[in-house]
Subunit: 868 residues, 2 copies
């Protein structure tokens, strides 16, 4: 046997790389004794050598011939014979599925003579001529590159698709449109077809597809040469496709379609309406039973839903292909869990089988996939889920309409903390500006509300309460739909599917919880989010951002006063008024979490989010000047001066986090006092309290020790040993220097929580907003970065820093608790990184908690059983 | 012998830590056989134990007594005797000099009885009473804490300072103002004095001083107990201070002052005017010769200029103290080099002896230190040197006055690239806003022009052309002076000292060049800077910033057009026009550097520096609206829209550096084309060209490979093998991720240059401007950071990243050339880091090149000979 060609009877499914997916499965099924039409596979290695070596085909030819002779012997037919000739198909099949990207040629072996043999042996000249005509057309298109429309044009004019006249015309077209003619020599046909498949690996659409799907270019495709069977030879013939389970619902029942007296192409082309496969029970009862048994055998054998193509030729069932069946998210989960019950899969295998992205889809309202809709514009997919509602253009309107229970979508240039009440009231948010971390995006994700941000093509006229998107005008009150998962803005109302966790999903998650080592917490800033988190299985709060608490309507002016205050008295006044609000917020969260750990990050405000926009202020000043309104003029000028004083050129790297805490110790003292009071109140009601106070943006251990001293003073004053409150002080690790000096910082901290968003920003020197608005899309497109590092942790850079931090800090303090609370905490790839790096828990938005539970279990299993 | 006390005759100068500086030198001199009044030292260890253990003094007492008895034997006098009593002084002396911070008590051993013995033995009752009065006063102040003014107040009213009456009054004051009385028991006096010195280590002023000077608190002070000698016993007595060389000029001649019949305090107090020491030659010829011999012996022994205190008591010369002599920068360099000629020092020792900061002072115009001046305000010392000139308030005025050769100081709120012509024309710049990396600061440092930035107390009225600083009003044309080394703004004209490199300095630098391993290059953006750099000894250009080239008057609008262009045509047009300017600039630099390496960084613009301010634009729009100027209105609105489109929330982490190069490849192609053309022109004139093209802000190797491909295309087109141009492509390493993936980047680069300013910003997450304006001063004050990491490399964080990068990249490419071109490249501590990390060169501003040459030599010597 040579090295480039292998009979179906020699291989098995493990040889995917060499035989391609289709070839490996054909070999496997042959090995199982299933009725596969015999044939052989020309390997991917042959393809690669062909693409590299001139004249390689000559070397390959003897091997093909040997296998062809073997096939003739098997089938008892002769290739090219004028009596009952052997006909074969040539199909490409790469190791990785590339649907529709590669080429197929059927009926090879027919020529002017053998077509008569076929007519004689089948007693059906029309059938034979039709087969021949199809071969000439496919050969012309695929091998000789004749554009399809030349053939189709003539086909439309011809009523009779199976006569010698059409065959002559088609041959004529080939001669006219290419520099060759249709070869009468069957071997020449075969070789041309093989070569065409080889070449198709390198054609443009295949390359583009591979690049889009991150498939390497050096895999090559195999070529499957198989004897033809026909489902269109009469009433005892037919063809069909089946799924071994329902691919929409996952129900364990054969599902598929069937067409009597037809070829596979006819099913695909949709010329005739196929029947439900169950109808075979009456028309083809024997074959139906046989088929069901084979489906069952295949599914058990592969331990996976199969998508099977079959043909019945004159009462004889043939299986032409089997492959993994594509399915919906619902079905995927149901099938995997059912297969555990059926003892087809272990629980570990079941957990690995469901993609976290499939689970995520189930957690938000979705557009019903069936419907058609008009997309008006495209923004960034800033917060997942879909929402339908009336367009409003200000937060106040959103609130007003919302109070009357009218669903609204808030459309605005960008949101500020002033707009919180509007976002709260709206079903979804659409902004013209801002990236994935813009105010609107962050707030919406936190609330689990759909948002499309940075839809730059939208033109807003706030005064006139209208927006223009391309030709389309949206007026206040018009109904629109946004899809926060895709960034689409959609005309009118759309049907939405409510999210739900099916019984199968709950079962899957329970199993995942048993398997995972990593804890899963949620990021939640208020009682409602905390309740949602708990409901979705969070074991604690990993990040409670106190700045969001400061954005409420009554609090916001106090915070602004605090920031702009120029005297300690002004400061104290603002802080005193803020304290009860903070305490109330904390108390609710602690009550909901009922003794589970709650990590509260002290204020880390991007100061400018609390400040008025200078451009707006200047505008107001001009207005007041014009109107001669002296009182406003004076107050606005004063506000302008103070605000300009606080203006920072790079607020992300300015007076933030613990830096603000150090410059303004009374602020953090107030927050910790509020926390302590809240904890005490909760403890008095008999609940326990596990509080973790987190200091943000530490770059040096001395920042932490400085603040720790301040805060411990407050705690010692408030919390006694009898208070039944556990209270730890730890820090965010979110700057490269914190990672590099983690040993020193560990000495001062009870826990670390990695803030991977800021860490990614500083490690790359990318501002996320600016990067996503300006250059990150191009970087991803040009493959300068393989993935968006704000979504999946960059292991080489950011990950290396994290590893340094973990190793160095655990050296000092082996029991140090390590978590992650950036958005990466909900990303499966990043969760895998957290598992292997030895984190204790991940924390993510409540809506991603189930995803994290599953991904954590998968990571645990992968580490323990890499072979699975 | 006990463990806590040591006689002068037992110790030596190596025991500084144990005996303190003064004690160790007294012991050393005693060992040399010099006439030191005998005594003993109570060690620093005793001080530390005293501060930690209650009742420690009792333990110490027997040891002190033993030594005191030995001293009595030596001197043939009895402590407390009523006939010729032994008198002793008690002086503190820590290991590190803390001038004026610690306490001294003289004449211990006098009481109501022994004072009469002293009167008898000296035959001078007035002298004896005066000594006693002084003791009571000092003891009262230092040991018993009686405020000095109680004594001084009475002293002023008394003509006779040496009578019993005054003594009684002083005793009375002590009784009244403290809860004890002056002890008559001499041992009690001694013990009280020792305790007071011990305690003084922990007093407030000493703590503050140590904190300010980074001296650890756990050193403790020694106590020197020494027999008294008196220079005020008659005409054969005297006291003085000498330097073994002139401390201002460094001339090798004895320099000092002398007062006949006086005590040391009198010289210090300035009651009598001391004589030049040379006058001793006539009045005390024998003692003068003896003194000169001792001075010579001490200098040779210590191999260092000595500052010596001496007393002549009745014709007998005593040496009371010797220590390292403080000197001016000029003197320091002259003395060190002279000592090499005199074979007192090796060249290595000489190089180590001169502080780089002393050298730096010599490179800028300085305020003449003698004069007095009125400081109007204080800003940041943004660019060193002093300048005097007429106040102007706009760049245009600066240019206009400058053209008439009138020296001006440009005063402005902050500068923008529009102001370059004004900065160029001014002698110095004073801004109200901005930090050490503000536009004004960076440009001024680059030009070697003095600048004071961020002088926030200045109130500017640009319209009225006046500024107010406190009470003082500066009008256009008023003369002011700025000191960029201290940040002072000074009223009126001041006398400035021109910078010069003395013969001694040139000698020192030549020796330094022979010793150093590190190359020294300069950062220079134009021919003039390059010439200056060469003159100051630079071996190449380590950083030529092309964005500064873009800021010229004609170029600036083109760059703005480029940035705001919305069509490729507009872009090409701007680029085409920019090319000849770039080429011209490059050509001049390459000509000047004549074959030395020139590293050119492709454009890394903070985009907003090229854009108009949105607030200004809005103001112009309002103005145009008001005036109904439709044409201006439309054009400004359009500019506003475009500018707002480019607005970034954190420009430092936005579309900069190679990111811009990737988004706009034509820009870098133009720059490289200009470089190639410039190189070719220079080569054609017979000079050689060693060009290093540097790509900024790389975070991933693929950014570099993407751009390299682009640029190599241009180079291949322009530069042939015959062009005699060496041209390498390398990258800045200025982001944490570049350090962490340096192995990959090294594969694509011919060289690395570490941009430690940006690297420090991203590692700490500090924007330098915002940090220095908002919190860095407080951080340094509270010792949260020991030094400003933008001045001296933070070894723990930034340094660790650099080490990772160096190790990983050299693993891949051992020959990779490594340099540093941040401002740290001129900082001696950071240069030491570069030496031990294995860099090839440092690059700094031209004016710091001599400093870097010296510091590099010192680093080399320290690595090779750590014992020096």
């Amino acid at each position: 046997m040579g090295k480039y060609v292998q009979s179906f009877s020699q291989g098995n499914q493990e040889q995917r790389e060499l035989l391609g997916g289709k070839g490996a499965n054909l070999a496997e099924m042959t090995g199982l004794g299933l009725p596969v039409p015999p044939g052989f596979t020309i390997t991917t290695r042959a393809c690669l050598d062909y693409l590299q070596q001139d004249g390689f085909l000559k070397q390959l030819l003897p091997e093909i011939k040997t296998h062809l002779e073997q096939l003739e012997k098997n089938m008892g037919k002769k290739f090219g014979s004028s009596e009952d000739p052997l006909l074969i198909s040539v199909r490409s099949g790469a190791a990785v599925s590339m649907p529709g990207m590669m080429d197929t040629i059927l009926n090879i072996g027919l020529n002017d003579e053998s077509v008569q043999g076929l007519a004689r042996s089948t007693g059906d000249e029309e059938f034979a001529l039709d087969c021949y005509r199809r071969l000439i057309q496919m050969y012309g298109e695929v091998v000789l590159g004749v554009p399809a429309y030349h053939f189709n044009h003539r086909l439309e004019k011809n009523d009779n698709r199976a006569d010698w006249n059409l065959i002559s015309v088609f041959k004529e077209i080939i001669r006219g449109e290419s520099d060759s003619s249709f070869p009468q020599n069957p071997e020449k046909q075969l070789l041309g077809a093989v070569e065409a498949v080889f070449k198709s690996w390198d054609n443009r659409r295949a390359r583009v597809y591979r690049e889009a799907n991150n498939i390497p270019h050096d895999l090559g495709t195999a070529v499957n040469v198989q004897s033809m069977v026909f489902g269109n030879k009469g009433r005892d013939c037919g063809t069909g496709v089946l799924f071994t389970r329902n691919p929409s619902t996952g129900e364990p029942e054969i599902y598929g379609e069937f067409l009597p007296n037809a070829q596979g192409e006819d099913v695909v082309a949709g010329i005739r309406t196929p029947l439900d496969i169950s109808e075979m029970a009456s028309s083809f009862p024997r074959e139906y039973e046989e088929l069901k048994a084979i489906a069952d055998q295949l599914e058990k054998h592969y331990r996976e839903v199969q998508d099977v193509e079959f043909t019945i030729e004159q009462g004889r069932l043939f299986i032409l292909q089997t492959r993994r069946g594509e399915r919906t998210a619902d079905a995927a989960i149901k099938i995997a869990t059912d297969m555990v019950t059926e003892e087809l899969l272990t629980r570990d295998e079941c957990i690995l089988r469901v993609k976290p992205s499939e689970l995520e889809k189930k957690l938000h309202r979705q557009l019903d996939p069936g419907q058609k809709y008009e997309v008006l514009g495209q923004g960034l997919p800033a917060s997942p889920g879909a929402a339908t509602g009336r367009a409003v253009f200000t937060a106040d309107e959103a609130e007003a309409w919302g109070e009357r229970d009218i669903p609204v979508i808030l459309i605005t240039s960008e949101t500020t903390p002033d707009d919180i009440h509007g976002i709260l009231a709206a079903r979804g948010v659409l902004t013209a500006r801002g990236g994935m971390t813009s105010h609107a995006a962050v707030v919406a994700r936190g609330m689990g509300k759909p948002a499309v941000c940075g839809c730059e093509s939208i033109k807003l006229d706030r005064e006139e309460k209208r927006a223009q998107l391309g030709e389309h005008v949206i007026k206040a009150g018009d109904t629109i739909t946004i899809n926060g998962g895709t960034g689409e803005v959609i005309q009118g109302e759309a049907v939405l599917k409510e999210p739900e966790l099916s019984a199968a999903t709950l079962k899957l998650l329970t199993w995942a919880d048993e398997r995972r080592r990593l804890g899963v917490r949620a990021n939640a800033d208020n009682g409602e989010d905390a309740r949602k988190a708990l409901e979705l299985g969070a074991q604690g709060i990993g990040l409670c951002r106190t700045e969001h608490m400061f954005m409420g309507k009554e609090r916001f002016p106090l915070v602004r006063q605090l920031i702009l205050s120029e005297s300690p008295e002004e400061q104290s006044e603002a802080l005193e008024k803020l304290l009860p609000y903070q305490q109330e917020d904390f108390q609710e969260i602690l009550e909901v979490m009922d003794g589970r750990p709650v990590t509260v990050r002290l204020l880390d405000p991007p100061l400018h989010e609390f400040l008025p926009q200078l451009l707006d202020l200047q505008q107001e000043i001009f207005k007041a000047e014009k109107e001669g309104d002296q009182a406003t003029l004076i107050s606005k000028k004063e506000l302008f001066r103070k605000t300009k004083n606080m203006d920072e050129s790079n607020p992300m790297m300015g007076l933030r986090g613990c830096r603000l805490g150090i410059m303004l110790p009374a602020l953090y003292r107030m927050q910790v006092e509020a926390l302590a009071e809240a904890g005490l109140a909760v403890a008095q009601n008999g609940q326990s309290v596990d509080l973790e106070i987190m200091i943000p943006l530490v770059a040096d251990a001395r920042e932490l020790s400085f603040l720790k001293k301040e805060l411990e003073e407050v705690l010692e004053e408030k919390v006694t040993d009898q208070s039944r409150i556990s209270c730890k002080i730890g820090t965010m690790i979110e700057l490269p220097r914190a990672c590099l000096t983690a040993d020193e910082i560990a000495g001062e901290a009870d826990f670390f929580s990695f803030g991977t968003n800021d860490l990614t920003q500083t490690t790359f020197g990318f501002s996320r907003d600016d990067a996503e608005a300006r250059f990150l899309p191009a970087y991803l497109e040009d493959d300068i970065l393989p993935v968006n590092p704000f979504i999946t942790i960059d292991r080489k850079g950011v990950g290396r820093l994290i590893k340094i931090a973990v190793e160095d800090s655990r050296q000092i303090k082996p029991e140090l608790k390590l978590g992650i609370c950036g958005e990466h905490g909900g990303d499966p790839e990043s969760i895998h990184f957290c598992e292997i790096t030895g984190f204790d828990y991940v924390s993510c938005s409540p809506f991603r908690v189930p995803v994290a539970r599953l991904a954590a279990a998968q990571a645990s299993i992968r580490v323990k059983s890499p072979a699975l």
